[in-house]
Amino acid sequence: MKSVKVTGKNSKHEVFLYTLSTCAWCKLTKKFLTDNKIEYEYVDVDLCSDKDRDIIRKDIESRGGEPRYPIIIIDDKILIHGFRKDKITEALGI
């Protein structure tokens, strides 16, 4: 599974995203994090193999999530569905 790491000055939290390369909401989420200098890592699920999609689906389900993108996982415990600026801001303390 190919994940991309985006470096930023703020690496206080571990931020991981499941996104789609074609999704405008995912793009907004990435831009928001980059603009706020947050370090994050993401996987574009649509570019993954069937086997990796299977693993991703199981990972999302094990965290109590649904397959709706973007999915933002903060510090391996907080899961946010969609580009919800208020929730992301609160979780990251920005």
Partner: protein, 182 residues
């Protein structure tokens, strides 16, 4: 792509997103999907690449009209309601109306878990084992709208009739018998 979307919005009484950058990103996503799959699958949903499985999420998707009506925008927010287009109402991510079983098709064609009885015991306790998953079977049927007579050939009827906007419940399966003259 843009002209097609604008024309479709006019015909169906909705509008395109007023955010030009966001709109460009959506068109870019749609274009990428059209090049990738041969049809413009929703850019914000995970497609399978198999036409019949993705049919309901080809833009404009089956769920657009009820979503625009209820939430002010469709799932990806390409299409919006009048008040949203005029900037009177703001929008955000909306709930997914697409049924879970259809969402599931884009995942895991490799293995699935199945409960089986171990051969060595007769107690009836079942254990989970991984077995190869069969590809989803599509059973195409003929459907007709009882309100306007629109006929389509697909797995299940559209969420709403594209012609008269009747609900899914107005569709009935059409069974035909073909006979050949001797």
């Amino acid at each position: 792509m843009r002209q097609r979307a604008e024309a479709d919005a006019r015909t169906n009484g909705c509008f395109l997103s007023p955010d030009s950058q966001f709109l460009n990103d959506l068109f870019e996503g749609l274009k990428k999907n059209e090049e990738r799959y041969g049809y413009p699958a929703c850019p914000c949903r995970l497609a399978t690449g198999k036409f019949e499985l993705d049919r309901d999420i080809i833009c404009p998707c089956d769920y657009r009209d009820p979503d625009v009506k209820e939430h002010g925008c469709c799932y990806c927010a390409l299409y919006v309601r009048k008040d949203v287009s005029e900037g009177k109402t703001s929008i955000g991510p909306i709930p997914e109306r697409r049924p879970k079983e259809k969402l599931d098709r884009a995942y895991g064609t490799s293995m699935r878990k199945m409960k089986v009885s171990p051969p060595s015991t007769t107690s009836g306790t079942k254990t989970e084992v991984a077995v190869p998953r069969e590809p989803p079977q599509i059973n195409l049927k003929m459907w007709y709208c009882r309100q306007c007579g629109y006929v389509c050939y697909r797995e299940d009827p559209p969420y709403i009739c594209p012609i008269c906007k009747a609900k899914k419940e107005m569709f009935t399966e059409l069974s035909t018998t073909l006979t050949t003259q001797q």
